[in-house]
Symmetry: C2
Subunit: 253 residues, 2 copies
């Protein structure tokens, strides 16, 4: 088939040439090569000279672009050899989308709506794809959670929070969809301070059975492949989360 | 309320201390300050000395961490003054999540499932929140698309692709949820090469009415606030996308 990368790149750069610096156009070019699978993990980037020639930009811009992509662990510069596409699966991804979201100071209601849609998507796929092993992991987590609530005098919000996050990350894994699970894992970091804050305010102390019940409902929905129950459980637990958050206007006070 | 950042940080670093370098622990510390809203856009970072002391790491590690976060445009170093949290809303976010996803070489079926769940979430919120202005934007896009298909002899895959992406980005905006819309916009970049490739293979030439019909169904679902129709339209158009992709094993050949 015809190759459209150059066309798309040209269209993109024509549309934005008034705002795009030379460095950004090098970054976009490399981005497009990756999106179009012309460059894969372990592949060598074109040389500095080739990039300068192909894009009509100076050596400084190419170096700056490579430096930035190296900083996000996308590129790996080997001295005297060349620049390679890193094995991003090994790297802890830089959560720039997460930073953007957090720093934009989004309303809590938007976060709640977002969480509901995301978790319903996760549950929809998890109902189709969950395995016995993962059900066991969820049950084990739920057991630890219940034990901790029942037996410990002093309930640490940090422990409760960590077990809760762990439960939800297992749900992400249950979907057997790495894209949705990745987005969910990043999003859980965004929800995490609110969850921690709610535990600090006494969410579990005042009604331990409700917190356990919501996780139990999610587990039952998976076992019975019941999407209505899953939807109910997601909405229910998100509302509990919201209710506790509403005790103060923000968890960060 | 009690402040749990230090606790969480300690727990996190104890759990992973065997794999975490000093630079990474500085990055995680700053990340937690941001996630917990202790640092917001425009705020000044603690000094190098303060960070070294608080975290028990060397000056080199702090510098390396700041350099990396500067490269993803999260921090802004002002010489002789200090280091500040950048206004990320102004920056084009580095799509590290996107790179991770693309470079992981995920099955097309996973992408299809992911797209269906994501778009159903978008439609669910868009049905609640869409405004007259946005409906007009969608209609205008659909009109341009139809005109182009009907009137042009030579149909450029790039033009069709750009109008299609534009339609879906307007749907994202219609959800009035910046989180979901951001995730959707990043994900559309992932779907984009497949869409472009399908247009190149003749998806529109062979059945223009089907392509227009799917967008029309999505628009009707919004106007009639009909989530069943929306679900049908999402599944339908994703299946068309999949069908054309299946003509070859990959769009990148």
């Amino acid at each position: 088939m015809q190759n459209y990368i150059t066309d798309t790149f040209k269209t993109a750069s024509e549309n934005t040439s008034h705002t795009q610096t030379a460095t950004e156009s090098v970054i976009n070019y490399i981005r497009n090569l990756i999106l179009n699978r012309e460059l894969r993990i372990g592949d060598k980037l074109p040389t500095e000279n080739e990039l300068c020639e192909q894009l009509g930009v100076g050596r400084g811009s190419v170096r700056e672009a490579v430096k930035r992509l190296e900083a996000i662990s996308l590129l790996n510069v080997r001295r005297g050899d060349g620049t390679y596409i890193s094995d991003v699966r090994q790297n802890k991804a830089f959560d720039s989308l997460l930073y953007k979201i957090v720093l934009e100071d989004i309303d809590f209601q938007e976060i709640v709506d977002y969480r509901i849609q995301l978790e319903i998507g996760i549950m929809q796929l998890a109902i189709r794809n969950v395995t016995e092993d993962i059900l066991k992991e969820l049950k084990n987590n739920l057991f630890q959670f219940s034990q901790y609530i029942t037996n410990e005098e002093q309930k640490s919000p940090v422990v409760l929070h960590d077990l809760d996050i762990q439960f939800h990350n297992i749900l992400g894994k249950a979907s057997k969809n790495r894209l949705l699970a990745d987005v969910y894992a990043v999003s859980l970091s965004l929800f995490s301070p609110y969850m921690l804050s709610n535990y600090g305010k006494g969410q579990v102390q005042s009604s331990p059975e409700v917190t356990i019940e919501n996780h139990t409902l999610l587990l039952n929905a998976l076992e019975n492949k019941d999407i209505s129950l899953a939807t109910y459980a997601v909405v229910n637990s998100t509302q509990l989360w919201q209710k506790w958050n509403d005790y103060t206007s923000s968890p960060f006070q």
